[in-house]
C-alpha cells in the first residue's frame, strides 16, 4: 500500500510538472543563469595600477603594480615627470588586492536558492489555500492524517523546487566545468560550482530550508480563508526572507555585524550558505534548524487539523460579535 504522504506528494508534483508552462520556465532558468553569465562576462581585468599615496611630509608615494603595462624605461619616465612636477618622494611596486571570488561564489549560490525558494513557497501557499478554500482539504482529512497531508504537500512542491534548483545550478556548473575560459572574469566566482562537496552542502541546506519554510507556509495557508488572506498572512514571512538575503549578502562580503543571527532558525540557512563551513557551529545550527523544522511540521499538522473548524479564527478577533440565537 502506498503511503498517503507519497500519494499526495506525487499528485502535487504532477499538478505542476504536467504543464507545458512549467517546462518552459524550467528551460528559461538555466538560460538566464548560464547564458546571462556568458553575456555578462568581461575580459580578465587588468591587475596593473599606479597608486599615488599621500605622505605626512606633504609629498606622495607612487606604487606601480607588478604588471603595470609600461616598460622599466616608461615607468622611469613617469616617475621623472612626477618628480619634476614636485612632491614625489618614493616610487615602489604595489600588489593589487584581488576580489574575493569565494565570497561572491557563495553569494551567487544563496541568490539562486533564495529566488527558487521564494517561487516554490508561493506555489506551496497557493496549493494549500486553494484546497482549504474549496474544502478539498476536508476530503483529504477524511482519508489521511493531517501530518501525512502536510508532509505530502511539502514533499511534492519540494520535488518541483529541487528540480528547478538543480537546473538553475547545473547551468553555471556546466559553464565552470566545460568552458571555464568562456566565463572570463566570472571564472573565479563559478569555481565553487565545480566542487561537489560545496554543491552537496548547498543541496542539504536547501532541503532543510525548504522543509522549514515549507511547513511554515503550510501553516499560513491553512490559517487563511482565501488567497488575499494568505498573502496578508504570508507577508511577514516573506519580509523575513528578504531581510535574511541582505544579512547573507553582508556575511558573504566578510561583514560579521549580524553573525549571531546564524543561531536564529529563520536566518540560519542563508547565513550558513553565505559563510564558509564552520565546523562545530555549523553542526550545532544545523541540528537546531532540524529541530525547528520538526516543530514547524508538528505545528503545521495541528493547524491543518483545526482548519476545518469554521469559526475558530474569525470569532477570536472580536468577542463582542456573538451571533444571535437564531443564527445557528
Amino acid at each position: 500500500m502506498t503511503s498517503p504522504s507519497w500519494l499526495i506528494a506525487t499528485r502535487e508534483f504532477r499538478a505542476y510538472a504536467t504543464t507545458g508552462s512549467f517546462w518552459l520556465a524550467l528551460a528559461i532558468g538555466p538560460l538566464l543563469t548560464g547564458g546571462g553569465m556568458l553575456l555578462a562576462r568581461t575580459p580578465p581585468a587588468p591587475q596593473a595600477e599606479l597608486v599615488l599615496t599621500g605622505e605626512v611630509d606633504g609629498g606622495f608615494e607612487a606604487r606601480f603594480s607588478a604588471d603595470f603595462p609600461l616598460s622599466e624605461a616608461g615607468r622611469a619616465r613617469v616617475v621623472e615627470v612626477l618628480r619634476s612636477e614636485g612632491g614625489l618622494v618614493r616610487a615602489a611596486p604595489v600588489q593589487v588586492k584581488a576580489a574575493d571570488p569565494e565570497g561572491a561564489s557563495r553569494f551567487l549560490v544563496v541568490m539562486l536558492l533564495w529566488v527558487t525558494l521564494i517561487g516554490s513557497l508561493g506555489m506551496l501557499l497557493q496549493a494549500v489555500v486553494r484546497e482549504r478554500a474549496n474544502r478539498a482539504l476536508e476530503i483529504l482529512l477524511s482519508a489521511a492524517r493531517p501530518f501525512d497531508i502536510v508532509l505530502g504537500k511539502v514533499l511534492g512542491v519540494g520535488a518541483v523546487s529541487v528540480l528547478v534548483v538543480a537546473t538553475w545550478l547545473a547551468a553555471p556548473a556546466a559553464v565552470a566545468t566545460f568552458a571555464p575560459s568562456a566565463a572570463g572574469s566570472l571564472a573565479g566566482v563559478l569555481q565553487a560550482f565545480t566542487e561537489p562537496l560545496m554543491l552537496a552542502r548547498a543541496g542539504v541546506i536547501y532541503l532543510l530550508t525548504f522543509g522549514f519554510y515549507g511547513f511554515l507556509t503550510v501553516m499560513v495557508g491553512a490559517l487563511a480563508r482565501d488567497s488575499a488572506d494568505a498573502q496578508n498572512l504570508a507577508r511577514p514571512m516573506f519580509a523575513v526572507l528578504l531581510v535574511s538575503l541582505f544579512v547573507a549578502m553582508t556575511a558573504a562580503s566578510g561583514g560579521a555585524t549580524f553573525g549571531w543571527l546564524i543561531y536564529v532558525p529563520l536566518f540560519t540557512p542563508f547565513l550558513l550558505l553565505a559563510s564558509p563551513p564552520a565546523g562545530a557551529v555549523e553542526v550545532f545550527v544545523t541540528l537546531e534548524l532540524l529541530a525547528a523544522t520538526g516543530l514547524a511540521a508538528w505545528g503545521a499538522g495541528q493547524i491543518v487539523r483545526r482548519s476545518v473548524s469554521p469559526m475558530t479564527f474569525r470569532l477570536r478577533r472580536s468577542s463582542r460579535q456573538r451571533p444571535a440565537a437564531s443564527d445557528y
Partner: protein, 316 residues
C-alpha cells in the same frame, strides 16, 4: 445468527464553537443497507455533525460508532465522503482523480484504476476517462467527484448536498447508483434541502433544528406527522391572527416582511379544513394576496418540526 451492526450510531453529539453555533444534542442510527436523509435549515448543524462523524472535528460530548465500534481512523477508511463544495484539481484526468481517492483509502494501484474505469463506465463517462476535470461539464465533474467517494467500495457513504448542480437526468443516474449501493448492503447518509429527493429516496429521515435532532424515523412516519395548514400572504397580521385563532390554529412567520405583506404559516387542528380557514379569513375581512394549502408530506413535516424547535418565532 447476529444481525449486522449499525453502519453509524450517533448518541447525544455536542460540538460548540467559541463564538456560538454548532450542535447541542444530535442522535441518529443508520442500519446497513439503508438510505437516510439528513435535513435541516441552513445553520441547523448538519455540516458540523457530518464533520464530527468524519473525524474532521472533535466532539465536545457524545458518542459516535461506525460499524459497531468507536469511530477511529481504521473504521473511517470504510466511509466515502462527498463535501458540499466540490474541489478537484482541474488539470487531473477523471480516472486519475478517482483512482487517487481510492488509493488514499488503501486500495492497491491496479485495483484503484480498475474501479475507476468500472465506475466511469457505469455512469456513461468511459469515453471521457482521460479528459481533464476542467474540461468536463459541471454536472459531469460533480459525478466524477461522487465516484471518488465510491471508488474504494465503502460501507457507508456520507454526502453533503449530492444533487446540487445536477440536471434531472444526472440526478436520476445518481438515484440509481444509490439504490445499487443500498442493495449491496451499503448505508447512505446524505444532507439535502430537496424534500422531493429525500421523500423519493430515503428509508429514514433525520431532521435537525437548532442543533438538535427533532425527528428520526421512517420517511412515511415523518410525512404522516406533518401538521395540516396553509401558507398565507397578507398585509393584515392582526386580522390573520384573529381568523387563525377562531379556528384553533397557530401562526409562524416564514420570511421577513416584504413591503406591506408578510408570509405566514398557519397550522390547523386535524379536524379543521382549508375551506374553514378561508371562511374565517373572509369573516375577519382579511385581504389575502396568496393562499397555499400545506399537504401532509415531508416538507410539511419539516416546516412543523423546524417551527416547533423555534418557539420564539411563533406568533400566538
Amino acid at each position: 445468527m447476529h444481525a449486522a451492526p449499525d453502519a453509524l450510531r450517533v448518541e447525544s453529539l455536542a460540538k460548540r464553537f467559541a463564538g456560538g453555533g454548532g450542535v447541542v444534542d444530535v442522535s441518529m442510527q443508520l442500519a446497513a443497507g439503508s438510505i437516510t436523509g439528513f435535513i435541516g435549515v441552513n445553520g441547523a448543524g448538519k455540516s458540523t455533525t457530518l464533520r464530527c462523524i468524519l473525524g474532521l472535528l472533535t466532539p465536545d460530548a457524545g458518542r459516535i460508532e461506525l460499524f459497531g465500534r468507536a469511530a477511529d481512523h481504521t473504521a473511517r477508511r470504510r466511509v466515502g465522503f462527498l463535501p458540499e463544495e466540490r474541489g478537484l484539481f482541474p488539470r487531473e484526468r477523471a480516472r486519475d482523480v478517482i483512482a487517487f481517492h481510492a488509493r488514499l483509502k488503501g486500495v492497491a494501484k491496479a485495483d484503484a484504476y480498475r474501479a475507476a474505469d468500472r465506475l466511469l463506465e457505469r455512469i456513461g463517462l468511459a469515453e471521457r476517462r482521460r479528459a481533464r476535470v476542467g474540461e468536463l461539464s459541471k454536472g459531469n465533474a460533480q459525478r466524477v467527484q461522487l465516484l471518488c467517494a465510491l471508488a474504494h467500495q465503502p460501507d457507508l457513504l456520507i454526502l453533503d448536498e449530492p444533487f446540487s448542480g445536477l440536471d434531472p437526468i444526472a440526478q436520476s443516474e445518481v438515484h440509481s447508483l444509490f439504490f445499487e449501493f443500498r442493495a449491496g448492503g451499503g448505508a447512505i447518509l446524505f444532507s439535502t434541502h430537496s424534500m422531493a429527493s429525500a421523500e423519493s429516496l430515503c428509508d429514514r429521515i433525520v431532521i435537525l433544528a437548532r442543533g438538535r435532532t427533532v425527528f428520526e424515523g421512517r420517511t412515511d412516519e415523518a410525512a404522516a406527522s406533518s401538521p395540516h395548514g396553509a401558507v398565507v400572504v397578507t398585509p393584515d397580521d392582526l386580522g390573520l391572527a384573529r381568523a387563525a385563532a377562531a379556528v384553533g390554529g397557530t401562526l409562524a412567520p416564514m420570511a421577513a416582511r416584504m413591503g406591506e405583506a408578510a408570509r405566514w404559516r398557519v397550522t390547523l387542528p386535524q379536524d379543521v379544513t382549508h375551506p374553514a380557514l378561508m371562511r374565517a379569513l373572509a369573516d375577519h375581512a382579511v385581504p389575502i394576496f396568496a393562499f397555499e394549502p400545506i399537504k401532509a408530506d415531508l416538507e410539511g413535516a419539516f416546516w412543523g418540526l423546524a417551527s416547533e424547535a423555534a418557539p420564539e418565532r411563533r406568533v400566538a
